[in-house]
Every structure is written in structure tokens, then in C-alpha cells.
Symmetry: C2
Subunit: 101 residues, 2 copies
DNA sequence: TGCTTCCGTAAGCCATAGCTTACGGTAAGC
DNA sequence: GCTTACCGTAAGCTATGGCTTACGGAAGCA
């Protein structure tokens, strides 16, 4: 969750969505230096959102589908709980008002 | 998005899901001080995830349904884009392989 | 064997987030 | 009016995250 908090990191992810890319290509155009991107990639990799493959001297990074899905599931449960709780609460207060009348 | 990054803030939100509560009740049991909770509530309020109502000397906070939904929509679009892009990429590489044969 | 490109990592800097303590303001009860 | 329970805000500290520069290792190419 904290992984998605940083805008630069989200931007890196965005660029990766268009397909696998070497670090160079990802960093090009970004307002931060290449090492910074490397560091972000490391975090993303540890979070399981990205995977790395060597191709000669290059490291090709790509989005990791399973990681995305896991995150999706996590977020969804967070959600459903939240909305359900809200619904319950709403009903409760409704009944309370109703009872008062 | 950054709003959900902090664990304490998520915890505050969790407690609020069970229904509206005064600051005191929210802070009770949390490992941080009451003013810290106040500060988190301020952030949550500015993010539109929570709303505040005065009741005598107490401030009752509750989850704001619309805020939750907005966040939901935002997250969903992030998602759909991500998975779609992944799918496209997968198909592309598949066709590439197929073409090579 | 050099030279060059690509990249990860270490070291250090700096801004910011989150926390605490301290204070002040407001409502309720006496 | 005085006190007491709530709570927000200001000030200050500290840890941490993100960045940069600098370095070094690995692979291709002359």
C-alpha cells in the first residue's frame, strides 16, 4: 500500500504498463536521475509488483500480473468491509430514528 | 492515495467504520496520543474520507460515504488500466512469438 | 586488452511526516 | 464564576524517504 504512495513510483509503474523496458528507457523523461529509478524499481520488485530479467548488459523490467492481482484483492477486501460497515451503520441509525418516532 | 499510506490513519478509519465516534473513543487503545489522532482526522477530513459534527463539547467523526466511493472509482480506473495494459502486452508478445514460428 | 555502455549500490543531504508536550478555547456542571 | 472534561493547534524533535553524486562491476565491441 505504501508502495503506491509515491508519485514517482506510480509513474514508473505507468511506463511499465506499456510493456517491458530497460532502466534507461524508464528513466528517460522522468524528472529524477537514473539511480533514483533503480531504487524505486527495487522497492517495486520487493513488493512483487514488478519483475526483472537480464538481457545482456540490460535489465528488463516488467509488470508482474500476480502482484497486481494480489494488490487488487487486498484493496477490494478493504473496500467491501468499509462499504458494508457503512451500510450497517446507516441501517442502524435509520432504525434508531424509526424507533424514536 | 497517500492518505491511506499511513497505518495509524488506516487504523483510525477502521475504528470509524464501526460507527461515528468522538475523538476520545478513537484514540483509546491506539498506541499514539490523542493529538496525533486529531491530526490524522484532519488529514482524513481534508481528503473527504471523514466528516465532523459537533455535539456539545465533543466532536463526532464519521466515515464519509461519498469520499469512499470517489476513492473506489479512482482506484478502479487505475486498475482497469493496469490490467488492460498487461493483457494487451501479453497478447502482443504472444503474437510476436507466433509470428516467429 | 582497453573502452564504453548499462546498471546496482553506498554515502550523504534535505525535506517532510508523524509524534509528543504544552497551551488555549469552549461547553457543561457545580 | 470556577472547575473539569473535551478537543484543536502550535512548536519542536526525530526518523525516514527520496534524491543526488560517486563509485564499481559486468557485458559487448574495438
Amino acid at each position: 500500500m505504501a508502495v503506491l504512495a509515491d508519485p514517482t513510483r506510480r509513474e514508473v509503474l505507468e511506463r511499465l504498463r506499456a510493456g517491458p523496458r530497460p532502466v534507461n528507457a524508464i528513466a528517460a523523461g522522468l524528472p529524477v536521475s537514473r539511480p533514483a529509478v533503480s531504487q524505486h524499481l527495487k522497492v517495486l520488485k520487493e513488493a512483487g509488483l514488478v519483475e526483472e530479467r537480464s538481457e545482456g548488459v540490460r535489465r528488463i523490467y516488467s509488470v508482474r500480473r500476480e502482484g497486481l492481482l494480489e494488490l487488487r484483492v487486498w484493496l477490494d477486501s478493504f473496500w467491501i468491509d468499509a462499504l458494508d460497515a457503512f451500510k450497517l451503520e446507516a441501517e442502524k441509525s435509520y432504525k434508531a430514528k424509526k424507533g424514536k418516532r
